[in-house]
Symmetry: none
Subunit: 208 residues, 2 copies
DNA sequence: AGAAAAAGTTTCCAAAAGGAAACTTTTTCT
DNA sequence: AGAAAAAGTTTCCTTTTGGAAACTTTTTCT
C-alpha cells in the first residue's frame, strides 16, 4: 500500500478553506508586494539584489503592469523570505460574527467519486473551522480503495442511515449502525464501506 | 534538506517543499497540478472549460514546459477550486496520533437541560477540535429561553429527525426539516425550538 | 535653492508564455 | 484485432513577460 490514491478524492479538495469558492476576488498582488517590500524597508534595487530580478520587473509587478510567472514569484518569495499565505490571505480581517448558511436536504454541492457520493454543506461560507458533508457510501469492498485515506485534522462521523464498516489503522474494524458515531484523528488511515442493503448515508465533519 | 512526501489526497498538501534557502526551490508545480486534476477526475478538456485556459497551455504547465503567470494560476485555482497559498505552503507535518472513539446510538453522556436533552458524543477523547453532541429539542416556544444562546466558535447543526425553527440574531427565523443543516458563528445569538409533533432530534457540532 | 544621488518608471527588445490547430497516443468501442 | 473517439502533446504563431538601459521623479546633500 504505497500508491497515491487516485480514484477517491476527499471533498475538501473541492473547497478551499481560505479562499472563497463562489467569490472570485482578484488578489491585488502588486499592491501587496509593494506593502511588503516597504515594510521590510527595502528599495527596488535592494529587492532586486535579493531576488535576482530586474528592478524594472519588480516595478512593473508592483504596479500591476505585468503578471509574474510562477518562476518569478518563487524568486520573489525566496529572496524576500516572505511566505505566501501572508501574501494572499492576510487582508481578510473580516470579523467572523454573524455568518449563517442554511443547506437544505440534498441541496449541497454534489461531488461524486467512485467510492462515495459526497454532498458538501454550507459551501457559501468560507474560512470555516469545520467542513461538513454528507456522503453516500457506495464502496462495498475494502479492495475498492488502493490506500488508506489520510489527511490532516480530526474527523467526526455519524451514520445517518444504513450500516457501515469503519476501518482504521491501529484498530479493529467496527460496524456502525444508524445513530452510531466515531471521532478520530484523520491522519490515521481510515476508510468506510457500506454493508447494508441500501448504500449507507453518513455525515462527516472535518476540522484542521 | 528533508523532502516531505505526502501521500495524502488534499491538493493543497501535495506540494513538496524544501527548506532550501539560497537555491530557488523547484516546486514541482506541474506534477502536482496534474495529480490534482487526475484526482478530481478531470480531463484536460474539462479542466480547460473550467479554467478558461487552453488545453495546450494546461498540458505544457503540467509537463513543466512553461511557468504559468500569476494570472493563469488564478484562473487555475479558481476554476479547479484549489487554494493558492497552500500550493506554496509547506505541508503540515502530520503528527501520528491515532485516537478513535466510537459512540453507540444513545450511549453518549447525557446532559439534560430545561430546553434540550443533550447527549455528548466521543467523550472519551479530550482536547478535541470539535465537540459533537445530539440534542433532543424539547423547547416549543422561544419564550422558554431567557436570552440568546451565545458562545465562542462556530457551530454546525443537522436535523436528524423532526422539524425545528432556528432563530438567530441578524437573520429571519428559518424552519429546518430532517436532513437540513445550518452553519453559523456561535457568538451570534441563536436558539432552537421544535415544531414537529415529536421532539426534534438534532446533531450539533461546535469548534472554537 | 540647486546639484547630485537615489529611487522609481518607462522604453525597447529578446525570451518566454498562451492559444488554435495539427499531430500523436491512449482508450473505447465494435 | 481494427476503427473510431477521446485524451494528451507538439507545432506554429501572436501576445506578454523580463531585463538592460534610458528616462523621470524624489530625496539628500551642500
Amino acid at each position: 500500500m504505497t500508491k497515491v490514491i487516485q480514484q477517491d478524492v476527499y471533498p475538501s479538495m473541492m473547497i478551499s478553506y481560505d479562499q472563497g469558492v463562489d467569490k472570485i476576488e482578484p488578489i491585488k498582488l502588486g499592491k501587496r508586494l509593494k506593502e511588503i517590500r516597504k515594510s521590510l524597508g527595502l528599495t527596488l534595487e535592494e529587492s532586486s539584489k535579493k531576488t535576482g530580478l530586474a528592478r524594472s520587473t519588480l516595478s512593473k509587478i508592483e504596479n500591476e503592469q505585468i503578471s509574474p510567472t510562477f518562476q518569478v514569484m518563487q524568486k520573489l518569495t525566496n529572496g524576500l523570505q516572505i511566505d505566501i499565505p501572508q501574501l494572499f490571505a492576510p487582508p481578510k480581517q473580516i470579523s467572523a460574527t454573524g455568518r449563517r448558511d442554511v443547506t437544505r436536504n440534498k441541496q449541497g454541492r454534489a461531488h461524486p467519486t467512485s467510492t462515495y457520493e459526497h454532498e458538501l454543506l454550507a459551501t457559501q461560507l468560507t474560512n470555516k473551522k469545520m467542513m461538513p458533508f454528507k456522503s453516500l457510501v457506495r464502496a462495498r469492498d475494502f479492495a475498492e480503495f488502493s490506500e488508506w485515506v489520510r489527511h490532516d485534522g480530526e474527523e467526526f462521523l455519524l451514520v445517518l442511515s444504513g450500516e457501515i464498516t469503519f476501518f482504521s489503522e491501529f484498530y479493529e474494524p467496527v460496524n456502525l449502525n444508524e445513530g452510531d458515531s466515531v471521532y478520530y484523528d484523520a491522519n490515521m488511515g481510515h476508510m468506510i464501506i457500506s454493508i447494508s442493503e441500501a448504500d449507507a448515508l453518513i455525515l462527516w465533519i472535518t476540522a484542521s
